[in-house]
Symmetry: C2
DNA sequence: CCGCCGAGTTGACGTAGGTCATGGGCCGCT
DNA sequence: AGCGGCCCATGACCTACGTCAACTCGGCGG
């Protein structure tokens, strides 16, 4: 009992303050006791190493995962062997929502670097969502956001619009998490970016080069500096306008 | 009181048996009393006429909508004036899930023909979802499915794969609703199909023609007959394989 | 019945981005 | 230090699809 009481704050810090439970709970103001109840569900898993899989296509769906540290990509491989990257997940973001419907994972989730995740057993989270309105509504909001984001990516846009939106989105996400929105390291390869944006890696390279020539960004391998955010925003206005 | 009691079965039939509440409730076996409680929430709206809007970008999010008769499309117009069709909605399908997150509608919803919808006030549905586990889980499943479907559309596929997947998906949806899976009317124009699949209308025309020449389908304006389902399925295996 | 109009089709041509091929640079391994 | 492998970049060329333009067809109003 006393060990449990001692453990709670630790897990609370990890799960709620660092990973997406913060995002899950705080916006609708869950209070201390509710956070505690949520906290008791959370397990940590990791560290995963670069290339390790968190789950694979076909795995039974048991839990949602929240990235605590490092980053992951989710992807599928189609019957022609082409890889489609569905998303990149930074600390504080949730994985696995698309597996709820069929009850098994439709994509693979792989660590892009050393990563730690929180495991959220779905049945229990769902039960708790029944009891706590704020949690329920926040889960719905997250899923809703996923739909809108994916729809934006599905749109018909040029390579430049896509890459600009990608950089802009990353910048925004880093900013929200307290990191620099103008200078960051890419966790993913050109190949991953290309498969995410539905471009060839060569095209990604070329557009990066073009952006650099135009003074929009400075890029060296995986480190990126955004030099002209306003212009970058204008470049992808068409895409981001779709969702906001 | 007696009028209420008399009305319930009527609305129950309309909302639960015909439109997507059936889909919402039945798979997890909601029972009579639960259905009744859900039923009291439901309002009918319509008939909408071709071209009428159910909601528009920026409208406050109040309710989800379930198509009861006819069909709708959801779409956005980006800053360059290009229209992006996000989806087509047949009787029994739910609209508006992407509006939960931002609390206002991100897309327009328009009737493709004479349509009737059921209005599901979101706050009340959400409360009820807190009380009824089956409803909650079914809502989550529907959102989850939306994510996976949109992701499939976002993938990098050829015009042929896209159109084949489109026809195949329609066929499947008609079959599920008890209509012929091989012969049906398209409610939407070539232009809508093109904007949905991210192709030019001319390309849609040409691929239709190619499919017809290859003996895959017979098509005349908006009436379609699928002549070789197995081959059609093989054509879009890459795409549908992604989600299942 | 005719003339109009928008939806759909078809052909000729243009282009964004894919493909293929080459080379440089960084890293880990021996 | 030297080597092999992968990631990235860049140039030359190719193609799936878009664009533009002409034409057909069916529906509707007068």
């Amino acid at each position: 009992m006393s060990t449990q009481q001692a453990e709670l704050p630790q897990r609370l810090r990890e799960a709620c303050a660092v990973c997406s439970l913060k995002e899950l709970c705080l916006p609708r103001g869950l209070d201390g006791p509710d956070l505690m109840r949520l906290d008791t569900l959370v397990e940590r898993r990791g560290p995963l190493h670069e290339g390790d899989h968190l789950f694979r296509v076909g795995d039974g769906f048991q839990a949602l995962y929240a990235v605590r540290a490092g980053s992951c990509k989710t992807y599928t491989v189609d019957s022609e062997g082409r890889e489609h990257v569905l998303g990149f997940h930074l600390p504080g973001e949730l994985l696995g929502l698309d597996a709820i419907y069929p009850g098994r994972h439709l994509c693979n989730a792989q660590a892009l670097d050393t990563a730690v995740v929180c495991v959220l057993p779905y049945e229990q989270v769902s039960d708790l969502a029944g009891q706590i309105g704020g949690l329920r509504s926040q889960l719905m909001r997250l899923m809703s956001k996923d739909i809108a984001d994916t729809a934006a990516l599905a749109g018909d846009f040029t390579a430049e619009e896509r890459l600009a939106a990608f950089l802009n989105g990353l910048s925004e996400r880093f900013r929200q998490r307290g990191y620099s929105p103008v200078e960051f390291q890419l966790a993913m390869s050109r190949r991953d970016i290309a498969n995410y944006l539905r471009l060839a890696t060569e095209t990604v390279s070329r557009v990066f080069a073009r952006f650099e020539n135009d003074g929009l960004i400075a890029v060296n391998r995986r480190s990126v500096r955004l030099l002209d955010l306003p212009r970058l925003r204008r470049l992808c206005a068409a895409m981001t306008g779709m969702r906001g």
